[in-house]
Every structure is written in C-alpha cells, then in structure tokens.
Symmetry: C3
Subunit: 347 residues, 3 copies
C-alpha cells in the first residue's frame, strides 16, 4: 500500500515536470516542477540504493549512494563545461562538497541525534576520510596560491598534473578500501531492517531511477538560468546552494533515513564519501574532459570557494574524528552551512 502511494507520487511529479518542460513556457513553473520531480526521484533512488546496499553491505552501499548521487551532477557539469560555464561548474562543485559535508551530514547527525543520545561509527574510516579530504583541500589550494606568479599556460599544465594525481589517488583509495583493507574499515554495527525489493529488482530500480534523475536534472538546469535572473540571485549562489541542495537530495534522503535508523556509519559514508568523490574524482575528471574538448578549464577556485571548502573540511573532520556523533554536532555543521550560505548570498 505504502509503496503504491510512493510510486504514484514519483510518477505524478515526473509527469507534471515533463508537461511543464515540453508543454509550457512558464519558467518558474518549469523550475518548481522539475525541482519537485528531482526530489521524489531522488527519494526513489535512495530507496533503491538502500535496498541494494542491504545486499552489498553498508560500506559498498554507502559508496553506491555516493556514486549514484553524483552521476547526475557529473552529467550536468559535463554540459556546463562544454558550454564554457567554468565559474558555474566550480560553484556547483563547491556547493556539492560543502552541501554534503555540512547540510547532509549536519541534518543526518542532528536528526539521528534527536532519536539516539550517541551514535557511533568506525573511527578508523573517519581518520582516512579526514586525510583524503586534506589531500583534496591541499590540491585545490596549491594552484590558487601559486597562480599569481604563473602564466595561464603553466596554470593549465599544473591543473592537469593535479587532476591526474587526484584521480590516481582516488583509484588507489578504492583498491585500498575495497580490496587490500576491506575487512579493516568495515562498519561494526549490525545491519537491520528489510530491503524493499529482491536483489535483482533493486539493481534494476537503481539504474532506472538514475536515468530519470539525470533526465529531469537537465530540465532543471535549463529552467534555472531564467529563474536566477527573475530573483536577482548571483549564478555563484544558485550553483553553490540551490542546484547543490536539489542535486544532492538523493544523498540527503538516503543519509538521513539511515541516520534515523541508527546507522550513522552509513550516513557519514554517504555524506563524506560523496564530498570526497566530487573533490577527488568529479572535479579532476571535468578538468581532463575540458582539455579533450579543446577549451581547457583550470582547477583554480576563487578565494570564497576555497574558504568555504576549507572551513567545511575542518569542522567536518573535527566532528567525525572521534567516531561518535550527537545532536549538537549536527547543530555546529548546520551553523557553518548557514554562515557560508549567507555570505555567498551577499556576494
């Protein structure tokens, strides 16, 4: 019964968004319906991912969540790079990183913490995540620091070298966490709850939901530019906050659902893992793609974006390092998110 209602809502929101996109010229209507559809489709994706995660174990499940949450973002960013919207790409990368580390993690920790007094997870994994995040922060800061003294050609070469190093590090991280030290990092908490579907159906659900999320995300991007002008918001604010919040609704719902079921380890893995994947895989991949497309995008972020990424990394590392969370730590993450959001809104 519950599932029927859910799929009715998913289908209805998609149909409405499709009608708005193909049948009308009302940009605000397009934007709202597409946003709504993305949120419902993302909830479906979250359910499917959770179901697959049940069969695959928490960690690979968390990795799947991160992957399928970022697939849509990679597709959108690809088209933006192709059109030369480099600033908006960087803003959306920034927004995704801080959105995952502050908003998704913050809400998960806060809401989970309202139910459970203390939630524990594998602190060894948290330590490795922290070190990876520091690598990402260093990799993004170095070109900005050295930029003032280097000509454009050298900045582009430096960007490509850094991009390759980050991708190699990311691949080695996958080998480390999935092959050589798989047992080492596995979560201690027992799996609970029943999956919604069988293994096979879950995987098909996952793929179909991903396709629809990507499709509607593109509609969203088309409508967002006009809405941006209507509200007088800057492209950086929209890229970094509006797009990122809607685009990460999948991680959002999945992570919060898990946190409220006392599986904070999987929720942390989704939020931090997604941030890491964007910083270590999506961002450098886009740099390399831009190079193949013949209009190279460098890896130099603005001081505001670097300040936001650095601040997010620091507070997220400080809170996750001890392998335990409570509601107040969620408040701290959300406070930093609101401060950064306000500052970006004013720029």
């Amino acid at each position: 019964m519950k599932q029927k209602l859910f799929f009715t809502l998913v289908g209805a929101s998609f149909a409405l968004a499709a009608y708005a996109h193909y049948g009308t010229d009302l940009d605000l209507f397009k934007f709202i319906t597409a946003s709504l559809a993305v949120v419902f489709l993302a909830a479906w994706l979250g359910k499917a991912t959770e179901s697959v995660a049940h069969y695959a174990g928490d960690r690979i499940g968390g990795f799947l969540n991160a992957t399928f949450g970022n697939a849509a973002e990679l597709i959108i960013a690809f088209f933006l790079v192709k059109s030369g919207y480099f600033d908006m790409v960087k803003a959306s990368i920034t927004g995704s990183i801080i959105g995952n580390m502050l908003l998704v993690l913050g809400l998960s920790v806060f809401l989970g913490g309202l139910i459970y007094k203390e939630q524990k997870f594998n602190s060894l994994l948290a330590g490795h995540n922290a070190s990876l995040m520091i690598l990402a922060v260093i990799a993004l800061f170095v070109p900005a620091v050295f930029m003032q003294q280097l000509p454009v050609a050298k900045i582009n070469t430096l960007s490509i070298v850094i991009a390759v190093i980050l991708i190699v590090a990311y691949v080695l991280w996958l080998i480390f966490s999935m092959v050589t030290h798989k047992d080492f990092l596995s979560d201690i908490e027992p799996h609970d709850g029943e999956p919604s579907w069988s293994k096979g159906v879950s995987i098909i659900m996952l793929l179909v939901a991903t396709f629809f999320v990507a499709l509607v995300s593109e509609w969203l991007v088309h409508s967002v530019e006009v809405v941006t002008k209507a509200f007088g918001w800057s492209e950086i604010f929209v890229g970094a906050f509006v797009i990122a919040i809607i685009g990460n609704a999948a991680e959002h719902s999945a992570a919060i659902l898990l946190a409220m079921k006392n599986r904070i380890g999987a929720a942390v893995e989704i939020a931090i893992g997604s941030s890491l994947q964007i910083a270590l895989f999506v961002a450098p991949t886009l740099v390399l793609i831009s190079w193949f497309l013949g209009q190279p995008m460098n890896i130099v972020f603005s001081p505001f974006e670097l300040a936001a990424i650095g601040a997010s990394a620091f507070i997220a590392i400080s809170i996750s390092r001890d392998g335990a969370t409570n509601w107040f730590e969620g408040v701290l993450l959300l406070a930093v998110y609101i401060i950064l959001g306000t500052a970006f809104f004013f720029v």
Copy 2:
C-alpha cells in the same frame, strides 16, 4: 588567620585604588593601584568561585568561573562600544581569547605539570570544545574573507546574521552540556579540598566580589589611555595584552589554583570555556548591542587578530585533544603567546 590576612590585602588594595582614583591626578599611580586591586579582587572572586564550584560540581563551577571572569569584560566593552572605540573592543576580544587559550591554559598546564607528571581530563569534552572553537574561528574568518567584495551595508547585515547564529549555537551548547548530555561530559576526577565558606556565604561572596571587580575595572580603563601614550604603546597592544592579562586575572588565579591541585579538567574548562564564551557570546552580543545603540560595529577582525585567534585555536586544540597534559605542552602554549605578544608589540 590566613583569611584575615587575605581580606586585609583585598581591602587595602581597593582603598588605595579608590584613593588614587578619586583623590589624585597621578595617572601612572591610578593605573598601578587599579591593576593591583583588580588582581586581588580577582583572587577573592576566584576563591568565592572555587567555593561555589565545590557545591555545584566541577563543570558548572568551571562555567561559573568563566561567566564571572567575563562579566567585567562585557561591561567594559559595552562602554567602549558606546564611545565608538571599535578597534579597541576587537583588540580586547582578541586578547581575551588568546590570553585564555595560551596564557591561562599555558600557565595552568605548565605549573600543574611541574607537580604532576601527567594530568588527565575528559577528552570527550575537549573534542566538543575543539569543534565549538572551530565554529568560532570560521565565523570570524568568513566576513573578513568576503569583506573585500562587499559594500558596508551588506557587511553589517552579514555581521548581524553571524552574531545571531553564534548566540543560538551558544545557547544550544548550554542546553546540550547542562541538560541533554550533562552526565556525558562530566569530569571523572573526584573533588577534593574543603570549601572556604558555606554555600550561602559563597554565593554572596561571589556577587559582591563581581561588583567590586567591575567597579575597579572601570577605573582601570579610565587611567589606561593616558598610560598608553606615556609608554608609547599602541592601543591594539594595550587592549590585546595589558588589559586582557589584568582583566582575566580571575580565570588566571582560579585555573592555576585548580591545576596545581590536580584538577586540570576544571582548569581547562575555565580557560577554554572562557575563550568560547567570549567568541560565541560576548563578541556577538556586542555586535547586536552596537546595532541597538545606532552605531553598528561589524564583526570583521584585522588579519593580525584573525591570525592570532586562528593560531591560538590550533595549538590549544592540538594540545587538549588527547585529554592529557604535561609541563612541556604548557611551554608550547606560552611560546606561541610570547611570539604573538612580540608581534603585536611591534605593530
């Protein structure tokens, strides 16, 4: 007998300062007697606070210490804001934060460490303090980073938003540490020693001592400006170091006394708790007060002040994180304090 001598000294130093303030025109004499009186009154306040703390438990005792140590500062800063001395207010906020985190904590850890080889305290609390301090550092850095591109009006609005977020976070922190997770953060070490007075007398002592500290602090501020010119010191140096050292003498004596009695947990709570209270409560409250007074003070600190606060937070977090201290860690804190003091002295 011992108490009689103590109160004779307190009374004599107060009488001397009162005579100098009302009866003479000698600014240097006023300054020295007021400083001396503040130090003795602060020692009285420390004794009263320790006595109240005995009845209230270490953590609330530590919180009381921080509150009554910062009450005088809040009053002084209020008059400075009213007179438009924004730079001196910010310098004294900076000085109080780094004075507590480096000088008070450093002396407590160092002197306590000379007596006890290793002193332990609740490392969970240290972790939360670290995360709160990172929030404060981020909140102070963000407006400075974004300032260059924003007009004055937006900086003021951003300052008010950040001030409100910090105060909300501070109130939630009190709820967390006093209500929902009270047991969770309590110190493990047993209380030792006898209180000086009964519960009722202790509380009256606390209130009376606070009143006198506030009174004499005001005399001190009146005399300090003339002395500043006489010695050729900058207002920033005086605000950040001279005023802060004398003004924090209460935390000073209380924290060091506790550390030397092997209650380093309470000493850390005084030093770090006081820094946090200034950053998360006193500073934003002053921003809001300045707004009500019709001459808005923003929350933008100078690069020197931010560097000093950031450096202090890093070293204090690194040292307190493991929940154990020794004399050498005190040396490190004091070394950073001397480096910053020298740098501020030269500006």
Copy 3:
C-alpha cells in the same frame, strides 16, 4: 662478504667524485658523481646510525639519525648564509622540512605498508610531534603575516625573538623527551635485528661517515649552480627539491630500512624528528648566525614556502595522529609531495 661489496661501492663512488671535483672541469660529471657519492655515503651513515641506534634504543637512535642527517645541511646552509644567498637557504630549509614529512615519511609508510598490513607506533609521541610542528608553523607564519606593516628593522628584531623562542622550546623538548618523560614516550615495539658492528666501531663509523658526507656535500653545492643554469631550473626548485632529496638521503635510507623491518616508530621519529629539528633548531640557528656575521637574515618565508610547509604539516599530522599507518597513507603523503614539487617546478 656483503659488507666488503658495500664499502667497495662507497669508496669507489667517493674516489670518482673526488677525481671529478679536483681533476676535471666537467660540471655535469661533477654533479652526478657528487650526488652518487652522497647517496652511498649516506647509506653508510644510515648503517652506522642504525648500529648505534641498536645500542641506544629506538628513540635516541631516531634522534641521532635526525642529527647526523641534518649536520651536513647545517654546514652547507652556513656557507650559503655567509655568502648572502638567503632565498636559497630558505628554499633548502623548506625543501628539507617537506622532503622529510612527505617524501621520506611517505616512502617509509608506503614501502613498509606493502609488507605489513598495518604498522603501529606510540601515538602519544605523534601527538607531541604534532603540537611541536604546529608551533613551528605558527612561528614561521606570524612574521609573514605581520611583515606588510612592519619596517625592516622591526622584522629583524622579531625574527631574532622568534629564533630564540624556538631554540628554547627545542632544548626544553629535548629535556622533556630525554629526561623528565623518557619512559613516557618510549616505543613499545621490541628491537630486532643484529647491529653491524660493535658499539665503539659503530660510533667511529658514524663520525667518519658524517665527515665524508659533509665534505662531498660541499662539492655538490659547488657544482649545482652551474647545473641549475644548464637545465634552466629556478634556484628555489633546486634548493627545495634537488638538494633536499640528495641531502636527506641519509634519513631516507635509514627510515625506509627501519619501516621495512616493521619498526615504523623509529622511521616516523627520523622523518618527523628531522623536520622538527630543521624548523625548530637549524632555521633559527641560521638566523642567529646571520646576525653574528653582521648580515642579518630574517625568518620571513615566501607565501609559496609557507603554503608548502603548512600543507605538509597538516597531512603529516592527520596521518600520524592515530599511531598506525598503512600503504595508502604513504600514497597520500607522496601525492602531496608531487603536487608541491610540480608547483615549485613551474615558479
């Protein structure tokens, strides 16, 4: 038999370098032979140090390694300061710090991690090393931040004050770790393996090898300037990477040998200890020497150098804090080293 071969190689490489230095005018030949000789002599030094370390215990052994690895650097830097090559001195200080924290530590952790799944060491020591490194980073950042507003004379005075504070802190650290808290920080892992020589022979070997390393290092410096021009490399890149890699070959070989014998604690002590010794002892000593020589060198590093030192300290602290290492953490350290190396190469 094995020893005979080794000493034949050491002797042959030295003879070749001596011939090149005194008997030819071929700068590239001089450079390559001197580099080769330094590497072999450093291997000898490493063997001798390891042998002495066997008799002295891991920690003092690690300290000896650091000392004898940095003796040559101090001598070279002394002549550079005397000639007024301040930028090259600072570049080589930077290169030694990041080379030890990233390249030496990275290779030790990576290669040790390929053999052993997890390697553990005293995490208390790691915590103290982290706090010391933060002191060093703060001490180097403060003059750079305050520099813009201060005249040259005050920067020089500030440099001397900071230099004295760092040396005092370093001496107190030696007292702490060797006298008052010796037992406290000692490594848990048992000593294994047999020393190559008797105690007396080991010490003589150590001294003789140090002498030869210093001698050939000087030849190397003489040839390096010409080679720098031939390849078109900047003096900063050569100072920070080429010289530092060859100059730290001793720590290199010793640390990696120890890590591969599962004595990662001693390897970490060599790498981090050597960085600390350069930052807290070699750098400030050079500032004081320059003052006595009548041409004062300040302690202000360039933004690139500070960024590199800060980044190295952060990632090294993050990785070493938990007292355990694995191959992937070595990858992270090496990734940061390559990123910084590439950036410096382009400047």
